[in-house]
Every structure is written in C-alpha cells, then in structure tokens.
C-alpha cells in the first residue's frame, strides 16, 4: 500500500480534482463552443502533455503534431469566416500545458492572413 493511500484511508481524505476555472467561466460557452474547447483540451492532454517536456528540453519542435493540429479545426482562432473556430477560450486551453506549442499556432495564425478586423470572441449569448 502506498504512503499516500495509507494516509488517505487514515485521514478519510477525498482528493478534489484540480480545476483552475474556479468561477466556472467555461459555463458561459454554449454546447458547440464547449465541444470545441473539450476537443482541444483532450488533445492537449493526450497528445501534447506526454511529449512536450522532452521536446522542450531538446530545443526541438514536434513536427508530427502539425497534421493533428490541423485535424482539430482551430486554424482560424480569432477570425470569423473561412470556417474558423473562433473563440479565445481555446487560447487558454492550449496554454494549460505550457506556452510553446500555442506559440507555434499563434505565429502561424498571424502569418495566415492580415485581417485587421479579426476578433477573438468568447461567443457569449447576446
């Protein structure tokens, strides 16, 4: 029995899951927006989190993730039209596991198109 398990049983200590969204900002999103955010969050946890420390330490870029990023359908973060996903909540989710991979997407998005009217949009109900 691990020290933690033994201690947990002794103290009857149930561990609440860590959640930084204390004021439930994510609840402001509608179902379709929440689905996108969840898709991104799952991707970050399953695909990025396991590899990012290693690539960071080696000063290398994981090029194999590019087609996986493409499959997320978030290439248009911050833009309307062109089938973009919109949504600045996505930016927050992309950074929960660190800044580096999101920076790749950010630089790519900036170079994608000069759209001075591009808007980050939480898509709140109006």
């Amino acid at each position: 029995m691990s020290q933690q398990t033994s201690l947990a049983r002794k103290l009857d200590y149930s561990v609440p899951p860590p959640d930084g969204d204390f004021y439930r900002i994510a609840n402001l999103l509608d179902d379709s927006e929440s689905a996108i955010v969840k898709r991104v969050q799952d991707f970050m946890e399953l695909e990025i989190a396991p590899i990012i420390d290693d690539y960071w330490a080696r000063d290398k870029f994981p090029f194999e993730i590019i087609p996986k990023f493409a499959a997320l359908g978030i290439g248009g973060i911050g833009y309307r039209g062109y089938g973009s996903a919109g949504g600045s909540m996505l930016l927050q989710r992309l950074h929960r596991h660190g800044v580096s991979t999101r920076r790749f997407v950010n630089r790519h998005v900036l170079g994608r198109a000069y759209r001075p009217c591009g808007r980050f949009d939480l898509s709140l109900r109006r």
């Binding site: 900002i25 590019i66 950010n106 630089r107």
Partner: protein, 268 residues
C-alpha cells in the same frame, strides 16, 4: 493556411529594433516596376525556420511608411537560420531572417497595410491573444501545484493542509480567476468591436505580470522538485519570461495605456 497545409510566420521584430518598430524599422522596401525589393533582417520570428509563408514588414524608402509583404520560403532573397540556446519557449523555432535584394511581386504585397497603424491593428489582436496565453499558463501552473500539494506528504500529511501552502495556492487561484474575468470582459469588448489598443495593452501587461507571479508561486510550492523539468512548473517559469516580454513589453504596453488615460505620451 487554415488547414495547416501551409505554415506561416510574422516578421516584424529586428535585431536592433524591437519596441521602436513603429518609427525605427530598418528593413526597407522599394518599388521596381511590378515588384518590390526588400533588404534587411528580422529576429525572433517564430516558425520562420520552416514556414512556407512569411509576412514581412518593411519601411518604404520613399514614403517612410511601413508595408507588409508575403515572402515565400523559396524566394532567392530570403534566408533564415535558427536562433539557438533559448531558455524560454524552447519548442518554438525562432528564426533570424536575412533579406538580400529579396524581390516580391506587387500581388504579394498586403494591399490593406499602408502604414504602421495597420500593423498596429494586428498587434491589438495578438496582444489580446497573449493575455489569454498568460491566463492558461497560470492556470496550468496552479493545477500542477495543487496536484503536487495534495500528493506530497510531509510531517505525516499532505502539504496541501499547511497554512502557508494554502496561502500560495489561493494567491495563485486569485490571480488566475481575476485575469480570467478580465479577459472575459475583453472578449466581450472585442466581440462588440469596441476593443481599443489600450484595452488590449492593459490586458497583456496585467495578465503576463500575474502569470509570471503565479508560476513563481507554483515553483516555490514544489520546492526543490520545482526545478525538475519532469514536474513541469519549471518550464512554465521559463516560458513565462518570454510571454511577459514579447508582443510588446510590459513597459511599452504600460505606456500605451498611460497615454490613453492621461492624454500625455511618455514614450521617449
């Protein structure tokens, strides 16, 4: 580019010109018939080492106005080398770009970019984005720290139950929640077309300051284990330094807001 079939980069910053880009850009462009000729250097350009398309900003020699150009990686006048030995954002491949008589057709000039005011419209957007980065980074650091605190046993119990540890956690959570709510309102302003340069600058400056503080608390909570990359927060600390400074330093964004609220420019 939406499908990531082509990768892009954004080339504004130069080796000798960062904060002063609006008036001191050294990369130049001049019109020759149906083409433009670009000369100069750009530094810190993310993705540039492998990007298919590079948006390059240059000062027109005759008018002194800043214009934007799409420069492809196979342009004979374009070359790039990777910037090595960074301590932050190490996954990001930043390039040092050299433009030598780089010839770009008129059709690849950004037609709506006719001065730095147009460039600034992009920066307004990106600064809002970086502020979101800071919120997410801080949130991730907080969650790592909380998870660690609940697992780490000292004196026979989880350190999450010690007062000074809870103090650190709640400071972190306060920073995360406050900046998240700030960004919520900024998002509303942006949606309504009301977000100004100073709105974005305040968010960028404030959220990156709080992020830098929060990741430091997380590292502190982990103690010695906080410097091991395996425990993640050390990487967050290093990366927070970059997001604190890039996309407009805290100082420059402060002066943008300062001018807006006082009417007085304090830039130089």
């Amino acid at each position: 580019m939406m499908r990531f079939d082509k990768i892009g980069s954004f080339g504004l910053t130069e080796p000798l010109v960062g904060s002063a880009a609006s008036g001191g850009m050294t990369t130049t462009c001049r019109r020759e018939g149906d083409s433009w000729v670009l000369n100069g250097e750009k530094k810190w350009i993310g993705n540039a080492t492998f990007a298919d398309i590079n948006v390059i900003w240059a000062r027109e020699e005759t008018s002194n106005q800043v214009r934007g150009f799409v420069v492809t990686k196979d342009n004979p006048g374009f070359s790039v080398k990777k910037i090595e030995n960074k301590m932050a954002l190490r996954v990001v491949q930043n390039g040092f770009i050299t433009l030598k008589d780089c010839r770009v057709p008129e059709r690849d000039r950004l037609q709506n970019a006719n001065s730095f005011k147009d460039t600034a419209k992009v920066l307004r957007m990106t600064r809002a984005g970086v502020a979101w980065f800071a919120v997410g980074c801080a949130m991730g650091a907080y969650e790592h720290a909380l998870r660690y605190a609940m697992q780490r046993i000292q004196f026979g119990r989880p350190i999450a139950g010690f007062q000074l540890v809870q103090d650190l956690l709640v400071r972190m959570l306060g920073n995360v929640t406050a900046t998240q709510c700030l960004m919520l309102r900024l998002g509303q302003l942006q949606s309504q077309g009301l977000m100004t340069d100073e709105h974005a600058s305040l968010a960028k400056a404030y959220c990156t300051v709080k992020c830098r503080e929060t990741v430091g608390y997380a590292r502190e909570l982990l103690g010695g284990n906080g410097i091991l990359l395996d425990n993640h927060v050390g990487r967050f600390v290093a990366d927070a330094e970059a997001i604190y400074s890039y996309e407009g330093t805290r100082e420059m964004n402060t002066l943008i807001v300062g001018k807006a609220i006082t009417g007085l420019s304090a830039f130089v």
